[in-house]
Symmetry: D2
Subunit: 293 residues, 4 copies
């Protein structure tokens, strides 16, 4: 996986927000890319930070680049992947301050961590995604982290009936229910008591949020299954399916949300020497509470 990968020549650039510090990081990245003779296609936010550059549509970037570089954290990387319509473009995230679970090149270490990537010295990781289909809608949406079902009125308990491959699984009452990928297992699902799932495991977790029954617990199932979630709400009530915390879809009492493994996988680029568990240790403070002396 860490063997030499194809050399990278054509780069898409994404940025989180137009604040001055992001601009400074962006300028250093552009300098480094030009020194490596890369072509640069800047998406809207990124272009606004690069004096004299022109913004390119995401569709054009998706169709033509070897790598998309995102300046920002995990949320920005997610947003860029969504803007690229989950096209099979390798993505790398440049993070200021602490590294993210996904965006793990440090802006202070561009020379050590980004340059090798351009020369083909990187780890390419495939992350499985969720395919989400609501009611009779035949178009599908995608999520890298999770799908969350909640009541539209956040302060009220909701009841959800869940089936796995058509067989009855559970009937949960509580704040809601999360279906999470391994990638999403360190995001919202973790806050709700779900386990961490190694990205190499082909599995999804079903995690209840503040369940009424103390016997309700997170369940990990093979990713090949179809999970159907049906909100049991009054005729005039509404529920919501939220994808990656970014897209919300309104649900009526007649809607069922079908979640399955997506065909495309997300292609994540990591700097050489990447280890998933090392990121876990750093992000979660494993060994955190210091030894009493």
């Amino acid at each position: 996986m860490n063997a030499k990968q194809p050399v990278i020549k054509r780069i898409g650039l994404f940025a989180k927000v137009a604040d001055p510090e992001t601009g400074a990081v962006m300028a250093r990245i552009v300098e480094l890319l030009r020194a490596a003779n890369c072509d640069i296609l800047a998406a809207k936010n990124a272009a606004s930070l690069l004096p004299g550059s022109t913004s390119r549509p995401a569709a054009e970037i998706a169709a033509s680049v070897d790598l998309a570089i995102v300046v920002g954290g995990d949320g920005s990387l997610l947003a860029a992947a969504r803007a690229l319509k989950w096209a099979p473009v390798p993505l790398v995230g440049i993070n200021r301050g602490r590294i993210g679970f996904l965006a793990d090149v440090r802006s202070e270490a561009l020379h050590e961590e980004l340059e090798p990537i351009l020369r083909g010295d990187y780890t390419l990781e495939r992350r499985s995604m969720l395919r989400v289909q609501v009611g009779t809608d035949t178009t599908a949406q995608f999520a890298l982290n999770d799908v969350v079902i909640k009541g539209s009125d956040g302060s009220r308990m909701i009841e959800i009936e869940t089936r796995v491959d058509g067989a009855r699984f559970s009937r949960t009452r509580g704040d809601g229910l999360i279906v999470s990928t391994p990638t999403g297992s360190t995001a919202y699902a973790l806050s709700s008591g779900g386990p961490i799932i190694a990205p190499g495991l082909d599995a999804f977790a079903i995690v209840p949020v503040s369940p009424h029954s103390l016997g309700e617990r997170p369940v990990v199932i093979p990713a090949g299954r179809v999970i159907s979630l049906h909100p049991l709400i009054e005729d005039d009530a509404r529920a919501e399916a939220t994808l990656d915390g970014q897209i919300s879809i309104e649900l009526t009492p007649r809607d069922t949300v079908r979640v399955s493994r997506a065909e495309p996988e997300l292609l994540l680029v990591h700097p050489p020497g990447y280890e998933y568990f090392a990121t876990l240790r750093e992000k979660l403070g494993w060994g955190g509470r210091a030894p009493e002396c």
Copy 2:
């Protein structure tokens, strides 16, 4: 506490909903009350279940009865207390099926459990409540279980700054924050990982809901403190304070929610022989997962 209490002559009657089974229970209760020479004042829902009876305003009931009987579960008892504007009227709940934490007279055992109460053979328990004041509003609201702060858009993380007696306590990011009484400790707070607090303890719990940081944990503090909760939201965003899951108050970024111990306490009537821990054992299935044989 279980010594002979004053005999009860004047009764307020509350009911949950106008379904036929509640009507049947109600009829048996009325028969029993008449046999005991009690006067009956029926609130709206209850009157609708009693042919030929007239509905009385809650304020009149609050001012004149010795006891309010609620046919329904914990939620109905809460609603009746709210309708009575938390007047110091002793309340007893008659539950069909499983008993509740608050409503613990079984409709199948009226003779054994309700009759003694009318004769003054009962346990009177005082439950502390929360006084909730929002922003510059000088009127206060009350809650028996909990006050919950969440974002108005339930799918989004919210950040809340909490102070205790003016001193910085925490800054939580997650789904929200619960301030719970001992009574509320077996309700929503329990689903969110909070501890059970014995009703006799003069304490409140601050319980984060799906907190982003794994180090955030429920904290139990003396009830005499003033807890201030300030949602850190964008200028155009809104948050919500929800009381007992029944009343919602919209919060702007300038609003602070001040929570303290309420002056009045709720007066709960239990049948003779009441033990709080016995209810816990029954409701939570302590000793639940059966011994493997």
Copy 3:
């Protein structure tokens, strides 16, 4: 999986304890087996409950039967599998009272649930097991549920260094560490906050027990990995590896415990109509805390 399976003619019989009630169940089973023209080989405990029968060694039973019937709960089924030295003999458990996760034929329903099995109408399920090797010992032990590492002095915190395929995974301080199969995920690991893992998923969970650091969380990894557990204890201290709560192995500071997927899988026989999630719902009281009315 639920299609017609080979007809069963030769039966091994195991029992938990020689109490009168088990004897009565045993007598009914024997009657039913004889009516079906089955040969019966009774292991020691079972023979002691069957007047006039002779006990057979477990090795002979392992080598010759089509099915082993265990009268008792999950623990008895585990003990029988261990006595059979994990030979590939299909096992079925007959439980008095509540069904177990593994032993799910009810002694009150032998006619409906055991008879069909003898005719070949059953579900055969393969459960993955752990292969456990300690220090330089070349012989391996097996576990169906879990391997638990703890200090020998149960009241003291222990520190354990864990590696996965040789790479550093974690350094945990606390009561101990569990490596659990999907089968074990509903046993001790569940009590320690681990997730439920569907038996069809080829994965193991690493679950810390009362970890000192709040950031330590259960992790689910692919079953194909080798997990090495090394207790970081003083020179004169001892730790313990416990398999399925039944076998304990003493560990010195120089010992490493290597855990991997076992070659043989356990063959479990379920009555027709078996559904894993239905067992979960019954055993864990999903939908447990009753709806408040």
Copy 4:
């Protein structure tokens, strides 16, 4: 509480271990104490680090000093309090590296944090303790953090019957049971899922360790109650009561452990400006997982 306290003239000195770094800290403390004209009585470990000094018995120190200074972490402070037989001597802990929950003067800040204390500028805090009595033994032991009941064979489940003021409370099966003070609520009880209890609250927590039943949850009760813990073990089995992780008492099946509030309280000295919640925030990494950018 933070008002001027009596000036301190006579000091007891305790140390954790005789390592060179502790010696260096100790030398700086002694210099500072001499400059302040304090008399110094060094306990055994401390004397071994002070060339030319004589060791004094703990009993003599307990009877005569105004303040005991402990160089080490929370565990060392606990050990010193135990050596002093819980005499009402104010204690302060000097910690190298991260501060502890109890020992919160930093060795790098002796001038700012220890000197003011000697002048009477400090916060004196009273921490409630547990009185523990086993079986018919009339002598009592004390614990500042917790009493833990476990089976002597750490790998086996134990069943414990708990009563509160004589009334049945629970029957727990699992690894064991913790009774914790507010002080102990950030120690072992926290690792086992217990809540944090503010030190000002007169309450104890009963926290099950890896309970078999998912409905078993931590319970907080008023400190004035008597908690009786009875291990339900076989005639020839043994259990253990462990106090503060330091003292173990063997229990037979006939023994009951009675836990109540201790008469003496521990007197803790904190540097000026001490805030309990600030320590929590630092120790538990509140606000730990960094904001995603």
